[in-house]
Amino acid sequence: MIHVDTIKNGLVIDHIRAGSGPRIFSWLGLDKADFSVAMIMNVPSKTHGKKDIIKIDSIISIDYSVLGFIDPNITINVVVEERITRKINLTLPDRVENIIACKNPRCITSTEKYITHVFTLVDKKRAEYCCEYCDELYRAGIGEVF
């Protein structure tokens, strides 16, 4: 097991689907961070077999609804003075804006570039979202993120 120092004030993004860590790392812009960050991949997990973890030594602002869309199984631990003060469980948001782009070439979003791409949750069990304009269906997840 790899050892990573505990963080003093920051966030631990835990239970990331194994393999999705690098894309979340990139989406959060952590490659440009001027504070300590660590990503650990393929950590053994009781529930999922393997998982990725990201540790951030700073309390950065994150849009949790977007992170929930990317992977609703993620949990976030808020660490203050080296102690976990809050645990945030993510859920699928009812609506996301400009997180994914509609891929239907007949959709109005393909030609009118100024439009906000809006998707609403239509099936929680299947994590399915539909485009507000053309009703095309998409599964939530990192694969679809801009």
């Binding site: 007949r106 109005i108 009118e112 439009i115 304009y133 053309c134 095309e136």
Partner: protein, 307 residues
């Protein structure tokens, strides 16, 4: 209250509002002279970014028969869209000149986008292969006048169910009535979009079956709704050629149908209904054309607040 509403898809209208529109259309049909001035001074804008015969002309005839006038264009090339103007700006401009806007676009969701920028009611006159609510009002008026209502009907939808926007809107509208069953007749490649199954048919518990052969089911139907394979929606011409003549309704096939079946078609047709069927009293597609104008007259009158 229908005044000022946008009609982008059938679910923008409640069942009660659809009844109101159908009742008004029936009144206009019986006594058109009584309604010839109700929209005097009103201007309908018809923005057709995609070719149309029936829909555009029926909208224009509808406003003129209500005493109003129209302005607009019949193809995108004669508008500032050709210069690169955004739909949002076009709509803001047209809304300043008119009282109500009917628009057709090859792009799905175009009318929905327009409704976000328009201070006047937007009527979706067809958006790509997505929705066509005023054809549905036409279809409902036809069904109501011939079948007496919308419940207890088995409706066969045949042909291009993937890109056929009239089919999508009709499924949405008819799914709200009791004991309606759908028989979806299409090649595998042209089945209905998955959102109609996952958001309408399954959650509402609507009975439906999918089949490939029209002959196997024609005898079970109260309504047969034929559709054209939508050439303009295909990106691959070879696919269109392979699928275009999947279904051809002829006099021989009609022998297997019920005596009280009605055959509907939103038109234009290509090969899917043989001309020999036109003289069959069960063919009602040219009645639909006439009903279309009255349905649109009623809708315009309601949305402008003229009635």
């Amino acid at each position: 209250m229908l005044k000022g509403k946008h009609v982008i898809e059938p679910s923008n209208l409640s069942v009660k509002e659809i009844d109101e529109i159908c009742s008004l259309a029936e009144q206009i049909l019986v006594d058109p002279a009584a309604f010839m001035d109700v929209c005097r001074g009103k201007i309908l804008a018809t923005l057709f970014f995609e070719p149309s015969t029936r829909t555009r002309l029926s909208f224009e005839a509808a406003i003129m028969r209500l005493g109003g006038t129209f302005l607009g264009f019949a193809d995108a090339l004669s508008s500032s869209t050709a210069k690169g103007e955004s739909l949002a700006d076009t709509i803001r401009t047209v809304a300043a000149y008119s009282d109500i806007i009917a628009m057709r676009s090859p792009k799905e969701g175009a009318a929905m986008l327009a409704s976000k920028y328009s201070s006047k009611p937007i009527i979706n006159a067809g958006d790509g292969g997505h929705q066509h609510p005023t054809q549905t009002l036409t279809d409902l008026l036809t069904i109501r006048s011939i079948k007496g209502g919308f419940s207890n009907l088995t409706i066969g939808l045949c042909g291009d169910l993937k890109f056929g926007r009239t089919v999508h809107s009709l499924i949405k509208a008819m799914s709200r009535y009791s004991n309606v069953k759908f028989v979806l007749i299409s090649p595998t490649e042209l089945q209905i979009p998955s959102y109609l199954e996952s958001q309408i048919l399954k959650p509402l518990g609507i009975a439906y079956t999918s089949v490939e052969q029209l002959d196997d089911v024609i005898g079970d139907l109260d309504i047969l709704y034929m559709t054209r394979v939508q050439k303009e929606r295909f990106f691959n011409e070879q696919d269109y050629i392979r699928l275009k003549d999947s279904y051809i309704l002829d006099a021989e096939k009609m022998k297997g149908a019920r005596k009280n079946l009605i055959v509907m078609h939103p038109l234009p047709r290509v090969n899917e209904i043989s001309p020999e069927v036109d003289s069959d009293p069960r063919a009602v597609y040219f009645k639909q054309v006439e009903f279309g104008m009255y349905a649109r007259m009623a809708l315009i009158a309601k949305l402008t607040g003229a009635i």
